[in-house]
Symmetry: C2
Subunit: 292 residues, 2 copies
């Protein structure tokens, strides 16, 4: 059984070129010679190779929408079955849930401005920040992931802080990984105030010296490829627990009855001041909520 290494490989720099998959394997970057995802369901995915797999993959350099594996015919390359959240796809899910860095390599068949003309180029470390489902061009379900580049800012978090003055040198630096980044928008303040910072699912209100804390959760997510809007009808006021559960697809909200699906309980909401966007709820149910 392969022993997977996570993070940077000694003597390999971003931008280094490799002639073929065998060379990538010998460098310790990506062990599998054919599969695009290295790793397993137990430890997570340590590396992926992008080499022209799916036409609707998106590569913006620092942000990548990546399609998982499975369901395609080896000869025609067409999708002939649904992809499943197993094997390499599950390995990428494990990486997402545990904040593990994934090495990324682009091959000559990958279509993007960052791809090499021949061979393979190592592209650095990425975090898996999101997973969701879509219907592919052939009508079958595909498992997709959003990958975001770990840049120098996050690297600085990972290797600990730089030089500290004498006053504070009593302890070792501690290597850390970024597990999640919670973002907030202007509109989220409004939805939090509407519910007095109480979670719409469980009612908890977190308060520190009278200052309340809650999180605004977007139903149809912001950013690629969802492109959800920052508007009140696309926002919920949730506690950190229900925010992570909603974003990761543990539960969803029925688009017209507003009942909770996937967990018990009832959604609290102000029917007059807070009209939930039904299209966005439908989007969340179809793409983010995963119950198979």
């Amino acid at each position: 059984m392969a022993n997977y290494t996570f993070g940077e490989i000694d003597n390999v720099k971003e931008g280094d070129s490799f002639s073929d998959r065998k060379a990538l394997r010998e460098a310790g970057i990506h062990l599998a010679l054919v599969a695009g995802i290295d790793g397993n369901q137990s430890v997570g995915a340590s590396s992926i190779v992008l080499n022209g797999g799916y036409v609707d993959d998106l590569d913006l350099g620092s942000e990548i929408i990546y399609t998982g594996q499975g369901g395609n015919d080896a000869n025609t390359k067409r999708q002939v079955a649904d992809q499943k959240w197993t094997l390499g796809n599950k390995a990428l899910l494990v990486s997402e849930m545990s904040g593990l860095p994934v090495r990324l390599t682009r091959g000559f068949n990958h279509k993007s401005e960052f791809s090499p003309k021949s061979g393979y180029v190592y592209g650095g470390l990425y975090r898996v920040t999101d997973h969701f489902e879509e219907k592919g061009k052939d009508g079958y379900t595909i498992c997709r992931f959003r990958l975001e580049k770990i840049n120098s800012f996050e690297n600085s978090l990972q290797i600990g802080k730089p030089a500290v003055p004498e006053l504070f040198t009593t302890s070792e630096r501690v290597a850390t990984t970024v597990l999640r980044i919670i973002r907030d928008t202007k509109l989220s303040k409004r939805v939090k105030e509407l519910y007095d910072y109480k979670c719409q699912v469980c009612g908890i209100q977190i308060s520190v010296k009278g200052i309340k804390y809650a999180e605004g959760a977007h139903i149809k997510p912001l950013g690629n490829p969802h492109k959800g809007e920052d508007k009140l009808g696309n926002l919920l006021c949730l506690c950190p627990n229900h925010h992570v559960m909603f974003d990761k697809g543990v539960f969803t909200i029925h688009p017209s009855e507003y009942s909770l699906i996937g967990i018990g309980g009832e959604l609290t909401f102000d029917h007059k001041k807070h009209v939930l966007d039904q299209e966005n709820l439908k989007y969340h149910q179809e793409h983010i909520f995963i119950n198979h």
Copy 2:
């Protein structure tokens, strides 16, 4: 009543110099002419000026340990009373809890390698990532804050993503702020496995397709100035809700009886495999837990 602006000011760049506090005010950076903290308890702190306030302040450039206001004698500058979590200190707490950016300016009296020889220099945007208490040199309680620089990575999160290909240009970019960054360490995996990813406070276990999610919380925090260690005795397995509550000082754990203080319920823990460090619990109770 002053109208506070948050974030960057038009026509002001990091590194710009100003002759005096009046010039800072006219530029719109910092409105108060004497107070070090601009803002109020309702909207948060929009700006701070560092100018030789407290001897044990720490300035590493991208990371600053800042002492709040109050309790010192105007003439002798010595601490004569405890600082309180009110006024400017509360404003900084609001900024922390809502992820608001704080403008930072260094004055000629501030002792650091980043300080100007005369006048004031605008130092850019910072996030308040932490608050805690200490006994100052004069024996009174001081309110302290950790500020971390918002760099280009975080800025890129705030202004939305750069150029997107035609496929995904249907929606506007949305400005976002970073509310929290959840970090993980190597050791935290061990404490999570020890409790099967169940929160030691409430017992909840969050799971997405069989992949469990919990957070490792350090009792004595990592990083400056606490310098807590990444060891099992300094870690708890918590759900996101109890993690934020523990880090922000809503509750603590009795150093020898291990009872919960500040909230109801009981701490679950494995007395044989998980020996909690009593010194660290004491540190958390004295510095992080705030009940006055």
